[in-house]
């Protein structure tokens, strides 16, 4: 250290002195200390390294909540910015050699500032566009509770956590109501709520017609649920499809009962089926069955080589196989093991339609075929049931409040009887029971929110499931009002214990945008010769609501559409980016785009540029680089004491 005995202190002296003299400078030097920087670098690196393991072991959400988006982590980053800024001050007055150092460190600060701006003022969302249907809102990924203030009816929005710590009856979540000392109690959360219809008596309502609330129950399938049947045409409630197994219907009057069509228990359903079977193309069998759908018996005509008999092979719906030799004599009659009669009445060597009727085109065995009739009864069995007519339970409400019913299969009746409220009907489909709970002569349908059971959820398409929060109002005295489910996307009026209304909404926050988006065209070109998508191309029209500007753009994979798209917007980030997110292979008139708005982008890339340029200057620009370290000494433990390297 060179000490000037003159008057002007050296730079080193200046720096040392000001720390002693001024508390501000002392603070600056503390905040900008290398020790602090090293500590921050180490801890931040360690934290994010651990976060990647947390992400892989648990989920991205866990890593985000506990580390990347946690308040302490962001505080750390702020402290880092303070440290970076302070360290540049500690080198004041700056010299040429500090250029790279300054640019890099300010670059990092700028980058982090950009990240913060993006977090606060930017957002991320999705928009599902249907062809030619303009939208002006984007659904963000932010789950919120929307509460009306009782004082001025302004709407307040607050985040609500339903993924990491959803409200549960044993651990309720309390949300404040602005301008009020009352609170909203969230006592449960479900991923799958459904608005289900039910009937209620409505004597004076002109719309009301007869109906019944039924309970359907099966222990084997562990299902219990309620279903209304309502006699109004076109309401959608006149029939109910029980998992595709059977249909329940309500009618004004039961069809006339024909005793000949009554099937006793244990009897099979009668059928008579004609088939034309081709030896050379078994898949082209022509079938005509009395039920209107094939009986399920598969007939194969096996033409023999020279010297052996032609044969007929029949496989029943249950899988029983039988092969018969076919002699020249027709009609040939056989009986199958299950009692079904088979009759071969015609045989062609070269089947063709000759003069409008089935006949032989030649004597060559070019297209051998048979005309076969199968008739008998088919028992409902595990495999046969598919070929039998669809089972139905048909009910009619009598004026005395009783229900008359018939269980039918096609035109055949397997069961008939009467029932009243509380009396279960056992139609004979597995162990299902159908119990009328309430019978109405005049009723209208209402809806109530019902949480679906796990078994019910499994049968449904996940996209149709709606989440919901269970909420109630609690006063400051501790009194609680009635509990209600708030399905996602809805605003519900909760009642306080005194009956006063409180509007509460739940769902994903929607962000209004200043323009309309319309999907004009969605194309999914495939890789040559396969069904695999090669790209996803959405042609979108944007209409600015204020300026009237119109723009048509395409969004493809790796090439998002941006709007508004003046030249300076992509540079500053003040634009919306629409990138391809999801599609529904069954609906090519719809596409889902991810929307990103990042006003921090400008600072991010300026900062990044600064970091890279600064490093380059520090390392390679001679006049601006720090001088090569003078601490270069050999170590030779036996002779040299200098050890700093």
């Amino acid at each position: 250290m060179i000490v000037n005995t003159g008057g002007i202190p050296t730079r080193e002296q200046l720096i040392k002195q000001r720390q002693k003299e001024s508390p501000y400078w002392w603070l600056v030097h503390q905040l900008g200390s290398l020790k602090l920087a090293m500590f921050l670098i180490f801890t931040i690196a360690l934290a994010i390294a651990i976060a990647t393991f947390a992400e892989s072991s648990f989920s991205t959400k866990v890593a985000q909540e506990y580390i990347y988006k946690a308040p302490w982590f962001n505080l750390w980053l702020i402290v880092l910015c303070v440290n970076l800024f302070s360290v540049t001050l500690t080198r004041w007055p700056w010299q040429n050699k500090h250029l790279g150092f300054i640019v890099t460190h300010y670059g990092i600060i700028t980058l982090l500032v950009g990240a913060m701006i993006g977090r606060i003022w930017g957002f991320e969302g999705n928009v599902t566009l249907d062809k030619d249907k303009p939208l002006g809102r984007i659904i963000t990924n932010r789950t919120i509770l929307q509460v009306d203030s009782p004082r001025d009816h302004a709407t307040y929005i607050t985040d609500v956590d339903v993924s990491m710590h959803p409200p549960r009856p044993e651990k309720t979540v309390v949300m404040p109501i602005p301008d009020s000392d009352r609170k909203i109690i969230l006592s449960d959360y479900t991923e799958s709520i459904q608005a289900q219809p039910y009937l209620e008596a409505a004597i004076d309502n002109p719309e009301s017609v007869p109906g019944v609330n039924l309970r359907l129950q099966s222990a084997m399938m562990s299902q219990t649920f309620e279903v209304p049947l309502w006699l109004k045409k076109g309401s959608g409630l006149e029939s109910y499809d029980l998992f595709g197994l059977a249909t329940l219907k309500i009618v004004k009057e039961l069809p006339t009962f024909d005793p000949a069509k009554m099937i006793k228990p244990g009897e099979g359903i009668p059928f008579s089926e004609n088939q034309i079977v081709f030896a050379k193309s078994p898949e082209s069998t022509v079938i005509d069955n009395s039920w209107g759908k094939p009986s399920g018996y598969i007939v194969t005509f096996l033409v023999a080589e020279e010297g052996t008999q032609d044969r007929v092979k029949i496989i029943s719906p249950e899988g029983l196989e039988k092969t018969f030799d076919l002699t020249a004599k027709l009609p040939a009659k056989f009986i199958l093991e299950d009692g079904v009669n088979v009759s071969v009445s015609e045989r062609w060597t070269d089947f063709a339609i000759v003069k409008g009727r089935p006949g032989n085109a030649s004597k060559e065995k070019n297209n051998p075929a048979l005309f076969i009739n199968l008739s008998g009864r088919i028992q409902p069995g595990p495999r046969a049931s598919k070929s039998l007519p669809h089972p139905e339970l048909i009910m009619a409400i009598q004026p005395d409040g009783r229900i008359m019913y018939m269980v039918m299969r096609g035109e055949y009746v397997t069961m008939a009887g009467k029932s009243t409220e509380g009396e279960p009907i056992i139609p004979g489909w597995a162990d299902w029971s159908v119990t009328p709970l309430s019978v109405f002569q005049k009723a209208i349908p209402l809806t109530k929110n019902v949480v679906l059971t796990d078994t019910q959820v499994q049968t449904l398409d996940p996209k149709t499931l709606t989440p919901a929060l269970k909420a109630s109002i609690r006063t400051s005295e501790g009194q609680e009002g009635p509990v209600q489910w708030i399905p996602s996307g809805e605003v519900v009026t909760l009642e306080g214990p005194d009956g006063s209304p409180q509007r509460v909404g739940f769902g994903l926050q929607a962000h209004q945008i200043p323009f309309l988006i319309t999907l004009q065209e969605f194309q999914v070109p495939r890789r040559q010769g396969t069904d695999d998508p090669a790209d996803y191309i959405s042609t979108i029209q944007f209409n600015h609501l204020k300026t009237g500007d119109t723009s048509i753009q395409t969004s493809k994979m790796n090439h998002p559409a941006t709007y508004p798209n003046e030249w300076w917007r992509p540079l500053t980030g003040l634009t919306y980016k629409f990138s391809q997110a999801q599609w529904d292979p069954n609906n090519l008139n719809q596409t889902t785009l991810q929307v990103l708005y990042d006003p921090g982008w400008f600072f991010k890339w300026i900062g990044s540029l600064g970091i890279c340029a600064g490093i380059f200057i520090m390392f390679y620009c001679k006049p601006y680089a720090k001088p090569a370290t003078s601490k270069n000494k050999e170590i030779n433990p036996t002779t040299d004491t200098a050890t700093i390297l």
Binding site: T52, Q528, K604, S608, E634, I635, T641, T643
Partner: protein, 561 residues
């Protein structure tokens, strides 16, 4: 000794043609163009890659043969004689528990197609896996499920071979399609006049093969090649490309490169301080570099893209980067240290790339259409892998320093050596900063998000911060050049994590038994070895320093007295 050899030679030559002509030569078909894996390639490459993916090796010993057959022969056998193959044990099953499930013998790794598809438990496992993938596509698979998936992929390949469907050697009809078709679909794509000669040529080739008549096979195969290609010459890639790929495949430029580097390393060590050794080393290093360059040029022409798509390509690029940086720095400083440090790294990485085909897959696959001709992908990946190369070179140089501390009797390290290490780290830091940021810029351009803490991004940042930590510690005076050396080792562990660990360690999950896939034992062994090495050097260094200090204190005491 030599005399005897030379006298035997004419006799050998006499026998050689006889021996050769006793066998049908599958390499006749090497130049046949076949479409597989999304691109056209030579038949010889197809056979090797297919057998590799089925069995894990490039040779196979079927039950009816006494010795191992090369891939070309095996695939011809299956093509011309498919019937008996469903019982051949040719499907690789990697995962030990799955082998148990299939009832395979303890040591065996290969099972037959029949035994797998008739195994009820396998079928059930497969079906439940399909169900899970449909209903919960984002759920991670456990190691058993992953192997079920791999095995079913191999079954699919096998079915394609046995049915003939995989042998797509007939060019598409000139109607716009770009799909090659197997021989059995000749009739549906071409008119009788065109299709018949080709079908006949195929039959002749097949019967010649089954008769094991080499000369007839050669004639028939050549004829078939010509006729098949002649159906639609515009649809096939140029013949010179086919020859190029065959040459690339057989020549193994990257293998010769590490052999050259090995020679350079040996001569550098053996004749260390003499000019001659240095010159020979230079010559061999440049030869190795030229081989690598030629390898890349060929690979780029064949694949029509930069080498940026899989682990294998990053490994050979890293080796290339290490060599380039070392050569440039060595040229500048002529210190020998760069070559000495770089060569083991280059040799090791090329050696790994050459010997672990199941982990580092060298087959050339086309990119997804949306990633083709993607500027950002190429620039970003090459910058990052170049930074890995710089840090790998730093590791090599650090090894020299640590080695000197541990083993050199004089314990002298020139200051300039520390400086060389520092220069190398600088290159790495700059490239890693640029590369990581390019990744963010690409992400922002392509889908609007600059940074979202993806594990790969995060680990690149961790590695960057590790080197920052090391450099800043030196500025703080906490450590000097030796600290840089230790830091280079530790920093490279972070690089390994970003480069390899994110895919093979995080992807597998910490609590699973997936070890064994992806060569993770090798990686772990490497990491442990490095840490032990660095730890030993650190221990020795500290010992020397304390000894020096006490020695100095004693001297001072003596002086004072």
């Amino acid at each position: 000794m030599m005399k005897r050899f030379f006298s035997l030679l004419p006799a050998l030559l006499l026998f050689l043609p006889v021996w050769l002509s006793a066998q049908v030569d599958p390499t006749t078909l090497d130049g046949l163009v076949i479409q597989s894996g999304g691109r056209q390639k030579p038949f010889g490459v197809f056979t090797a890659e297919t057998l590799q993916s089925l069995t894990g090796k490039k040779e196979f010993k079927p039950s009816f043969s006494e010795k191992k057959l090369p891939a070309g022969e095996v695939l011809l056998e299956i093509w011309f004689n498919p019937q008996k193959w469903s019982k051949e044990e040719i499907i690789l099953v990697d995962y030990q528990p799955l082998r148990k499930l299939l009832g395979m013998d303890g040591k065996k790794k290969l099972a037959s197609f029949e035994s797998i598809v008739s195994n009820q438990e396998f079928v059930r496992a497969f079906e439940s896996l399909q169900k899970q993938k449909r209903q919960k596509p984002n759920d991670k698979l456990d190691p058993l499920q992953k192997d079920v998936e791999s095995v079913s992929g191999r079954l699919h390949i096998f079915e394609g071979l046995v049915s003939g469907d995989a042998y797509r050697v007939i060019p598409p009809a000139p109607n716009g399609s770009i799909e090659f078709i197997p021989v059995q679909l000749l009739g549906s794509a071409y008119q009788k006049e065109q299709a018949l000669p080709v079908a006949e040529a195929f039959d002749q080739m097949r019967s010649a093969y089954l008769k094991n008549d080499p000369s007839e096979f050669k004639v028939a195969a050549t004829r078939f090649k010509e006729l098949a290609g002649g159906l639609n010459p515009a649809a096939s890639i140029s013949p010179w490309k086919v020859h190029l790929e065959n040459f690339y495949f057989k020549f193994h430029p990257f293998r010769w490169a590490w052999i050259a580097y090995l020679g350079a390393f040996v001569s550098l060590l053996a004749i260390m301080n003499q000019k001659k050794g240095y010159r020979i080393a230079w010559a061999l290093v440049l030869t190795g570099l030229l081989l690598q360059i030629s390898g890349f040029v060929m690979r780029i022409i064949i694949s029509e893209r930069a080498p940026v798509t899989n682990m294998y390509e990053t490994v050979i690029w890293l080796s290339f980067g290490v060599s380039i940086f070392a050569i440039i720095l060595e040229w500048k400083y002529r210190c020998r240290y760069y070559l000495l440090g770089a060569l083991p790294v280059s040799i090791l990485s090329l050696l790994l790339a050459d010997s672990l085909p199941n982990v580092l897959n060298d087959s050339i696959r086309p990119l997804m259409p949306v990633l083709q001709h993607n500027f950002w992908l190429t620039v970003h990946v090459l910058t990052i892998t170049s930074s890995y190369a710089a840090f790998a070179l730093a590791l090599g140089v650090a090894h020299i320093i640590l080695g000197k501390v541990l083993f050199s009797k004089k314990h002298t390290i020139e200051a300039s050596l520390y400086n060389y290490l520092y220069k190398t780290i600088q290159i790495g830091v700059l490239l890693l900063a640029i590369g990581t940021i390019l990744g963010g810029v690409w992400a922002n351009y392509s889908w609007g998000r600059f940074w979202d803490w993806d594990p790969k991004e995060t680990w690149a940042l961790v590695a960057f911060m590790s080197y920052l930590f090391i450099l800043h510690g030196r500025i703080a005076g906490w450590w000097g050049g030796f600290g840089l050396a230790i830091g280079s080792v530790i920093g490279f562990m972070a690089i390994l994590m970003a480069w390899y660990g994110v895919n093979f360690v995080l992807g597998v999950g910490l609590h699973s038994y997936g070890f064994g896939a992806g060569g993770i034992e090798y990686a772990l062994a490497f990491v442990i070895a490095e840490l032990i090495f660095a730890g030993a050097a650190l221990y020795t260094y500290t010992k020397i320093k304390t000894q020096t200090r006490t020695h100095d204190k004693a001297l001072d005491a003596v002086d004072k007295n």
